[in-house]
């Protein structure tokens, strides 16, 4: 479903990420493991087309991302990728339901408030629809961020350290939620995490080596 080949990504002259070959089939659930600073977030950003690798090829759903530019890349991302960022980043000016509607609007998809409500209901958080993000607990916000990531039925669902700041019960619930939603929308799931609690819940693991800092 996606393939990263010959990736060598650098900031200036500093190498930040190197992946020879990593590919996944559609519907697979992956853990992207590795210590802090090993480039997990960067790898997710490459998959989402938020940045282009210094060298190498990123292909998602049969599309070579290097062939997409500007607004076309943004449009592809909005429709094909759901991202749950580490710090969630719900839009504070909008309530929960409008955060979901914003995702559909920005991806150029028709506004379907009932469908967004049904999704919230399926995730057991329809009572929060009219809450503002600052009124949510960490666990609630996490669920809303997942809901926003899957509302457009992406082919690729990415989550960056989703269990950080969560207790064991919530960490497990969040992981199960991500897997359930990925199955529900038929998305390939990649969870980037250095959290050992995640490993038993995800069958496939791709591990990034610790970055060697050259003196």
């Amino acid at each position: 479903m996606f393939a990263l080949t010959g990736i060598d990504h650098r900031y200036g002259r500093t190498p930040v990420l190197a992946i020879d070959d990593w590919s996944a089939a559609a519907g697979e659930h992956w853990l992207l493991a590795g210590p802090s600073g090993s480039g997990k977030t960067t790898a997710l950003h490459l998959l989402a087309g938020l940045c282009a690798p210094t060298a190498g090829r990123v292909s998602v759903g049969g599309v070579d991302l290097a062939t997409l530019r500007g607004a076309a890349l943004d449009r592809w991302r909005g429709r094909s990728v759901g991202l749950v960022p580490q710090r969630l980043h719900l839009v504070g000016a909008l309530d929960v339901l409008d955060n979901l509607r914003l995702a559909r609007y920005l991806a150029g998809l028709p506004d379907e408030p009932t469908r967004a409500l049904l999704l919230l209901e399926a995730m057991g958080i329809d009572g929060l629809a009219r809450r503002m993000p600052r009124q949510l607990s960490q666990g609630q916000a996490q669920r809303v961020a997942v809901a926003r990531a899957v509302v457009n039925h992406p082919a690729l669902l990415l989550a960056d350290e989703p269990t950080a700041n969560l207790d064991d019960a919530h960490a497990q619930a969040t992981l199960l939620l991500l897997r359930a939603q990925a199955v529900h929308v038929g998305a390939t799931l990649v969870v980037a995490s250095h959290d050992a609690r995640v490993r038993p819940l995800l069958p496939r693991v791709f591990t990034l080596p610790p970055r060697t800092v050259s003196a």
């Binding site: 977030t41 429709r79 609007y105």
Partner: protein, 402 residues
Amino acid sequence: MNLASLALAYARRRPLATFLNVLLLAVGVATITLVILVSSELEGRMQREAAGIDLVVGAKGSPLQIVLAGVYHADVPPGNIPLAAVEELARDPRVREVIPMAMGDSFRGFRIVGTVPAFVAHYAARLHAGGLWAAPLEAVLGSEAAQRTGLAVGGSFAGSHGLAEGGGEHGDRAYRVVGVLAPTGTVIDRLVLTGMDSVWAVHDAHGHAEPHDEDADAAPPAREVTLALVKYRSPVAAASLPRAINSRTVLQAAAPAYESARLFSVFGVGTEVVRGFALLLVAASGLGLFVALTQALDERRLDLAIMRTLGASRGRIVGVLLLESAGLVALALVCGLALAHGVAATLGDWLPAAAPLAAGAARWRAEEGWVVLLALAVGIIAAALPAWRAYRLDVAATLAES
């Protein structure tokens, strides 16, 4: 959910800052617009009232005073001139028409002008009721004079000595109202008109009543008028006639066009100062808008980044910021223009001198288009830098920072 509702959601999140920004810009817009309304009304009125009058003649004195007294009825005339001199001027081939005026009395602040029917014709005034004066002590009221004094055809009043209120009354010689004029929007609305012989009759009687007046018992006094309005037969007369009048006769000639231009150059400075101040106000509010938008951008960098991950293009992100700025500017424009026109319409209720403003308050001036452009330019300039920074936003780096 669209860009407009998103911009609105952001504006509602900071209601005080939004309100203050709109208020500041609206006050600047209102000030500029009000200056435009006042000066265009003033200029238009001065031009309207001087229209068709090429020259005003009066006693030797200040030409500005003669114009103010003869055209705008806003100053006392310099003194009287012999009727004979005016009649001689009327015979000059360069002169098409001379309209003499005899002044000196007033009624409740409205000047009583003794003149000829040509005066009414000059201001194109129609009779609203009654007819023109035909006999001594018959008077015709301008529309405003009639409205404010409550006098109608058939009423009578006594003039008071002097052009301001509070002079001694000519109680023994009462005028009878025989006509009321329809409104014209010119100075004639505020005048009380009568024949010249009425003015002479009142003042002869007045003279007789005062024993110390030495000429009173002599032969009928030489008839005098106060001022006369002169129309040229052809514009060529402007080259020679005023100088001829000033050098060879007892009369002083003054051209309204020239004198009012001179007057404008004096108090036009005041208008320029106010206009400059208003521009400064708009510039300051533009700066306020810039600060607000820059601050909003800093606060919203993460929101903008997440919107990019949700599929928004750079153009759309810039669109949100521009739309927000445009919305504030549009709101400020509507409020500012409404405020200026509202003030113009109601200012007359507190300041009687500003009453004429109300008549033109509902009309839009071409210059207001410039105010709209100015405000839009301020909005665009204020949003330009924040929009550029939003366009350049590095999404991956912004999401990665913690």
